[in-house]
Amino acid sequence: MPAALAVDPPVAAPVVDDQALIAAVLAGRSEAFEEIVTRYQRAVYNLAVRTLRDSIEAQDATQEAFFKAYRALHTFRPGAKFSTWIFTICYRLCCDKLSKRKRLSGDELPDRADPSAGPELLAERNDEALRLRAAIDALPEKYRAVVTLYHLQGKQYEEIATVLNLPLGTVKTHLFRAKEQLRKALSQ
């Protein structure tokens, strides 16, 4: 697996780096933010949709994350990774939405797997990508987030730990257990 899986094709070889784009936005050229949106909207949406397992809510979370980032861009620490920052904002928003959902309906208990995507359903899905997505969706929330970020950011465990606000060791443990569960689910 590559050290950092490309978030979006333009991220792999950006013409202008994120820091320059952010500086341009802060200097008043707000259209530079369009390029930032182009680079990260797909990854942020994927993080949201995997965490929330709901496309409509994921769109709301993505929009809100970019809105918050845009408003707080002046607080962005130069030298930090924009992807880590926007993922952190998005993940916190998703956690808020999950908490609200849990309060309202008792849905999405953190350590409980989604019963809607069990082995029976997985068996019906022949396509590898679909099966893998379904298996990720079936993971408990804490494992799902780690695997999703591992998918988006590669083996950058420190970045994943920052986004999830977890110790590095916990991230590695969660990832190991998540992979075990994924392998088990895919072998069924």
Binding site: L5, F33, V37, Q41, R42, Q63, F67, Y70, H151, F176
Partner: protein
């Protein structure tokens, strides 16, 4: 054998897993709420200033209205202003009427624009 070796196949599958495409309108939604968001009619400090002034006014009004005999005092004050200002005198009222009508007539007059104004 490391953990990475244990999960080599899974890592390969994860690496090959394509990202989901976001819905078509999402980019437009994001840009509308950020870059193309209309500028607010007032700046935050202006809102704060207006809010503070309104709050002060309401507080002063409440202070005046809640004073003992506020109604009677107010009527008394208005009476005194009218009396001291000479508003009960016929002559004063006449001069006021003349002044007001003159002001109104002057406001209705139109003056030809000067060359300097036209040249702008």
């Amino acid at each position: 054998m490391t953990h990475d070796d244990d999960f080599a196949d899974l890592d390969r599958m994860l690496a090959a897993l394509p990202l989901e495409e976001p819905p078509a309108g999402l980019r437009a939604r994001i840009l509308t709420s950020t870059v193309y968001r209309p500028a607010p009619a007032m700046k935050p400090w202006e809102l704060w200033a207006i809010g503070t002034l309104v709050a002060l006014t309401v507080w002063l009004l409440w202070l005046v209205a809640s004073a003992p005999n506020a109604g009677a005092n107010f009527v008394d004050l208005v009476g005194r202003v009218v009396e001291d200002g000479g508003l009960t005198s016929m002559t004063t009222m006449l001069w006021l009427a003349v002044g007001m009508s003159a002001a109104w007539w002057i406001s209705q007059l139109s003056f030809p624009t000067t060359r300097r104004v036209r040249s702008r």
